[in-house]
C-alpha cells in the first residue's frame, strides 16, 4: 500500500467517522435497543477456580463438539461394524482351514504324499 493510497483512505475514514457521529437519533435508539437485547442474551461466566479450570475447560470443549456428535457416532459405528465383519471373516476362514486339516489327516493317503514331487507327476501320468 503506497502513501497516497493510505492518505486518501485516512481522509475518507475521517469523513465516515464524522458521519457516524451524526447518525439520526432514531437509528441510534434502535441500535442501543438492539445492543441491550444482545447483552441480555449474554451468559456471563465467572472465571473458574484454578483447581477446577481443567474440568470446566474439558466440559466446555465437550459442549462445543456436540454438533459433531452424530458424525463421530456414525464413524464409531462404521468402525465397530468393520471390526465385527473382520472377526467373522477370520472365524469363517479358520473354520475352512480346520476342515481341510481334518480331511488331510483322516485321509487314507499319507500326508507325505502331497509333499512328494513324484506324486504330482504320477497323478498327471495315470489315466483316469
Amino acid at each position: 500500500m503506497n502513501r497516497p493510497d493510505d492518505e486518501l483512505a485516512r481522509r475518507i475514514v475521517q469523513q465516515l467517522d464524522r458521519g457516524v457521529q451524526h447518525l439520526d437519533p432514531a437509528t441510534c435508539e434502535r441500535l442501543a435497543a438492539a445492543r441491550k437485547v444482545a447483552l441480555s442474551h449474554c451468559h456471563e461466566r465467572p472465571e473458574p477456580a484454578f483447581g477446577l479450570a481443567w474440568a470446566v475447560n474439558a466440559i466446555s470443549h465437550k459442549g462445543v463438539q456436540r454438533p459433531y456428535g452424530a458424525r463421530y457416532l456414525i464413524a464409531v459405528a462404521a468402525l465397530v461394524l468393520g471390526l465385527i465383519g473382520f472377526a467373522y471373516w477370520q472365524t469363517m476362514t479358520s473354520n475352512d482351514f480346520s476342515d481341510i486339516d481334518v480331511n488331510l489327516l483322516t485321509d487314507d493317503l499319507p500326508l507325505n504324499a502331497y509333499l512328494d514331487r513324484g506324486f504330482d507327476s504320477w497323478l498327471k501320468r495315470v489315466p483316469r
Partner: protein, 215 residues
C-alpha cells in the same frame, strides 16, 4: 478495543491503539467490556451493513443479529478477540442476507415483472441526501452543506464499489484490522485483501475526482 465509542466524540486512533494494548493480556471479556465494545462498534457496523444492503431497516436487523450472535456464543472469549469475531459474524450475516435475497429473487422476479417496476426505485439517491444535524449548527451553513454533500458522495461511492473491495477497504481502514485479521474476517488470502484494498482506494479516488471532490 480499537476505538473509543463513536458517540463519545473522541474517535482518536492513538486512544484506540492504547485501548487495544490493554486487552492484549488475553483475559476473558466481562459483561461491561462486551457492552462497551458493542456500543463502540455498533454505528460503524450499521453503516457497513447499509453500504452492503442499501436498506436502513435491513441493516439494523443485520447488526442486531450480529450482536446477538456475538453475545450468545462468544461473550466468554478474551476481549482482544472481540473485534475480529464481531467482524467475521457481521460479514457472514451480510453474506447470508445476499444468499437469502438471491433465493427470494428467483421467486419474486417473475411475479414482480408481471406488475411492472416502481417508478420511485429509479430516483437518484443523491437527490435525497439528509439535511444537516442540529449539532452541526456551530459551523457556517455553507461548510455544513459541503460536508454533508461530501459525506453523501463518499457513501454513495462506497456503495458503488464491488462488495469485496468495499469490505476490504472498510475492514482495513475503518475498523483498523491488519491484513491478516481482515483476511480472516473475509475468508480469503492476505494477498486478496491487499489487492481489494488497493483497487477500492483507486476506484474511490476516481469516483471522487469525477465528482470534483478533493479531500
Amino acid at each position: 478495543m480499537r476505538r473509543t465509542p463513536a458517540g463519545s466524540g473522541g474517535a482518536g486512533h492513538g486512544t484506540a491503539r492504547a485501548g487495544a494494548d490493554q486487552h492484549k493480556g488475553g483475559t476473558l471479556a466481562t459483561h461491561k467490556e462486551l457492552a462497551d465494545f458493542l456500543a463502540e462498534v455498533e454505528r460503524r457496523a450499521y453503516k457497513q451493513a447499509v453500504f452492503a444492503v442499501r436498506d436502513d431497516h435491513l441493516a439494523l436487523d443485520i447488526v442486531q443479529d450480529a450482536m446477538l450472535k456475538l453475545a450468545e456464543r462468544y461473550s466468554a472469549r478474551p476481549s482482544a478477540e472481540l473485534p475480529l469475531l464481531f467482524q467475521r459474524i457481521l460479514q457472514n450475516t451480510i453474506r447470508d442476507f445476499y444468499r437469502r435475497q438471491k433465493v427470494r429473487a428467483i421467486w419474486t422476479t417473475p411475479i414482480s415483472s408481471l406488475f411492472g417496476t416502481d417508478p420511485e426505485d429509479e430516483s437518484d439517491p443523491l437527490e435525497t441526501l439528509g439535511g444537516a444535524d442540529d449539532s452541526q449548527f456551530s459551523k457556517p451553513p455553507a461548510e455544513q452543506l459541503e460536508q454533508t454533500q461530501v459525506l453523501g458522495l463518499i457513501e454513495k461511492a462506497l456503495e458503488k464499489l464491488p462488495a469485496r473491495q468495499r469490505q476490504a477497504f472498510l475492514l482495513r481502514y475503518w475498523e483498523e484490522l491488519d491484513v491478516t485479521e481482515a483476511a480472516k474476517a473475509m475468508g480469503c488470502s492476505e494477498g486478496s485483501v491487499k489487492t481489494h484494498c488497493s483497487r477500492a482506494t483507486h476506484a474511490l479516488a476516481t469516483i471522487l475526482k469525477k465528482q470534483g471532490i478533493k479531500l
